[in-house]
Amino acid sequence: MSEPIRIEAPLTDDVVKKLKIGTEVLLSGVIYTARDTAHQRFVDMLAAGKPLPFDLKGSIIFYVGPSPAKPGKVIGAAGPTTSYRMDPFAPTLMKNGLKGMIGKGQRNKGVIDAMKEHVCVYFGATGGAAALIAKSIVEAQVIAFEELGAEAVTKLRVKDMPLIVANDCYGGDLYAEGCKKWARP
């Protein structure tokens, strides 16, 4: 494999267009956490014309519900949750400026099509490598829905978070390609 490339959040179309499936990246900058309930609320807020807790333009959402931080620590363990549960909401967020998603597992056709239309990228993080991934999180601050506990929306500053491009803005799907390549009769 080639050396990972370093990228910064928030993302621009130019950066997203350079990312192809299988590319390893080290992500730095500001990203936001959101999962099931937060996604439902975002979509409801957009429908009602209300502002979201952060600016969606160019943003990256990390599908994660971290474990609590020990005293003196930034965050607990923070690996990706399964992404398909966010599939019903992701296209609406992309339409409103979302540029990147971080999670694990395959996305549906609706999401892949919306990624092509809105120039968006989906990064896979290694499920179960939560202690390792947490090492790349340097700041964490809950900015909305605190009552949701692990599901609250958190602003994260990350430094060199290890990710791989799982779906690109050209319709590429590493999960499908990888499985096809290695399957045996």
């Binding site: 494999m1 931080a69 399964t82 290694t126 179960g128 939560a130 990888g178 499985c179 399957a183």
Partner: protein, 281 residues
Amino acid sequence: MKTIEVSEITRVITDLCVKACTVLNADMIEAFKTGLKKEESSVGKAVFEQLLKNAEIAETDGIPICQDTGFTVVFLEVGQEVALTGGSLKDAVNEGVRRAYVDGYLRKSVIKNPLTNPVNTKDNTPAIIHTDIVPGDKLKIKIFPKGGGAENVSRIKMLTPADGIKGVKEFVIDTVKNAGANPCPPIIVGVGMGGTFDYVAYLAKKSLLRKIGERNPDEKLAKLEVEWLEEVNKLGIGPGGLGGRITAMDLFIEEFPRHMASFPAAVNIQCSAARCKSAIL
């Protein structure tokens, strides 16, 4: 007759929960190392490397291996010569879980009423408790925190006896195939056969308590375990679901007699964060 104070059970359960979530068992570490050697896909190798490094960081820093510290499943084998004093066994178990998750900085993932009042219970209780009364004067405790991702892709099927070995095998392989990358491969596949609709799921779950490489004592089942594992690993899903040879690290089968009209089968998938810790009082 042996007397055990339930407060002792609480203490042990707390300790086991924290250890289970933060320290990966030696057999899993070995399985990752074997996987790293055997895997041919470079992305797959990288996933094994990450999992090994992750386990090391979790243990050193005392933080969870995976942020999903699971629904706490507790297996109790209570010797019939044991007298439990000082309170309710169930309350003692739940108190142990509560202390572990609240004081041990583990994630609380339990939602009170699934549909009508979906609020977090804030202490990861209640635990799922399976109690078996057995001969003897010992109390065996096994803690098995089970993450949501792999539970979500687990399946039960009521086959017919005519479906036979081919039918069960197809069901097992299809379940793993449909699960794809979602349950955090490399996975462990737990298969239950026989019993009733409810019991077969328990069998599949119980099979996952075995250590990697531990075959069913029944020779025929042991052979099927090896064969089906090989079939599963032809799927190409691979570590992280990104393609590779090693989709599953092991496959376990547990069986029980069945009704002559039924053939219940269950597949319980276990993610790479296979966490089980036990103690004997």
